[in-house]
């Protein structure tokens, strides 16, 4: 039986961002603490994109950097903080003072964002969820609406429930451990909402630590969270999730998270950081080199291999 030869979708980060991220567009960056697509955010900064709407559950350091670089006019998010390490200085300034420019903010809860991705991925007009009853959020976010269930509630009376609308980004960018040339993408450890965010988008860029042979992917098809048909570009970018981590590849740079609260608190220092580390590097490979091998040795991880399972072979 014949099998399909698949298209090679690999591109450089520069080419992928140029092709799929446009001024005024809606860009989703996902990865829940794990596999944050930082290198892609940096390339968006280097290419000077403007007026983006950024969609991301946990708006963290990379979002603060993109805002500080002037790329972002609107943010859709459910958590705007520097993890447990402190604050996002630029984001707070924009919202608290409107300086140097205001930032429009659509505030959700985590599950509200998850349901927006689910609705977007599944082409649903809305997704219901048991949140928001009694919250002030609907008073500041008119997209949080209610529907009456057509089935009686537990007490026999009509039952109301909040719903959220779909989100359909122009492009979703995720970071993953590995993919094949055509974009079959495997992720392990925390898998978050990446697959749904990809399906919700018009175009999808998958940034990976490494490209592997088809045989590696195909030895474990359940590990493929994003199939090739949903992927438009595959970008190889080792260590592209720093300062977040890639399970089994490198650990989280907790020191940088703590440092960011201080860097971002001072606008001048923040801009100097961007000038040196993002605009001052040609690409992520240069950023990685600049950090130095000794630095990376500090984030190195040891081996904890999964035990193989048998998929079976017809005899």
């Amino acid at each position: 039986m014949a099998t399909t030869e698949r298209k090679d979708k690999t591109m450089s980060m520069k080419a992928a961002v140029a092709a799929f991220v446009h001024d005024g567009g809606t860009v989703c960056l996902e990865g829940f603490t794990h596999l944050v697509p930082t290198a892609a955010g940096h390339e968006i900064i280097r290419q000077g994109r403007r007026d983006l709407t950024v969609v991301r559950m946990t708006a963290d350091i990379v979002v603060d950097q993109m805002i500080a670089a002037g790329c972002v006019s609107r943010l859709v998010s459910s958590f705007v903080g520097n993890s447990s390490a402190g604050s996002l200085g630029e984001l707070r300034r924009r919202i608290e003072t409107g300086e140097p420019a205001p930032l429009a903010f659509e505030e959700y809860s985590h599950y509200g964002m998850i349901c927006r991705y689910l609705a977007g991925a599944q082409r649903l007009p809305f997704h219901p969820l048991r949140s928001y009853g009694g919250s002030d959020l609907p008073s500041v976010n008119s997209d949080l609406r209610k529907v009456t269930s057509p089935y009686p509630g537990p007490d026999g009376e009509p039952e109301q429930i909040y719903v959220v609308p779909p989100v359909n980004p122009d492009v979703t960018i995720i970071h993953a451990q590995r993919a094949d040339l055509s974009g079959n993408t495997q992720i392990w450890g925390l898998t978050g909402i990446q697959a749904e965010a990809v399906y919700a988008a018009d175009k999808a860029i998958v940034v990976v630590e490494e490209i592997v042979d088809d045989e590696v992917i195909r030895s474990d098809p359940n590990r493929t969270l994003v199939p090739a048909h949903a992927v438009d570009a595959v970008v190889v970018c080792p260590r592209g999730a720093h300062p977040s981590f890639a399970q089994g590849y490198y650990d989280r740079d907790n020191a940088f998270y703590r440092a960011w609260s201080h860097i971002s608190k001072d606008p001048r220092r923040l801009q100097e950081w961007l000038a040196e580390w993002v605009l001052g590097t040609a690409d992520h490979a240069e950023y990685v080199d600049k950090l130095g091998e000794q630095f990376w040795a500090g984030l190195a991880v040891g081996e904890a291999l999964s035990r193989p399972v048998n998929y079976g072979r017809r005899l």
Partner: protein, 262 residues
Amino acid sequence: MTTTTTTTAPDTTTSSELLSVVASRELAARRTVFAGIGLPTLATELAHLTVAPEIEVVYESGVCGAHPSHLPETIADAVLITGAEAVLSMPALFGCVLQGGHIDVGFLGAAQIDRWGNLNTSVIGDWDSPSVRLPGSGGGIEVMANSREVFVVMRRHNPRSFAETLDFCTTPGPDRALAEGIRPLGAGVTRVITELGILARAGVGEELRLVAVHPGVTVEQVRAATGWDLKAAGTVGTVPPPTEAELRLLREDVDPDRVYLR
């Protein structure tokens, strides 16, 4: 059938081979196909070797990018899973891939089809006390509502199957959905491939029309075998018979063990 040129097939062509070859040609330039096992698989595999090199089958079981070691006997055959590129959960398959709009062509079968491409797979007779209880929708309702277009391959072309009125409409085409105020994604059934020829429609508001007959079949034969007043295209073409190249690929590469080419 004709045997007058070297590029056409000998008249030993089976009905399965004929339907597979004709269906394969209709897949030109399509990319993602949602297909069951049997003729749709054969057609898709042959299309991959001929008119649609980038085509990919997504199976209702959740398998994408299968590389089976043997021709699969069901959509869930273990040989489809081992070595596949991805295996998706049911919510991902039906929600994200199918309802999400990633399927170009869905293949469906039916006990009855009407002129608008509505399908019955539930019952012959009344739903409440049917004379024949059929398997029901499976994912058929979703394939119809969410694929860009649907191909139907029907071995039997007779007035009971090509019905003026369905006993029950399990799987509605877009015209029925729109009449209820619901807008489906796709065009509904655009091709019906039978042993007599090919019916086609472009989308909403159009009936199925006879666009081509197999060599030796007349328009009147097809109209007589159809339960409704079947309209014909201005020019009804003749389906070119399977070429020797198509048959060779089908017999030697796609189904060498003749699992489906019975």
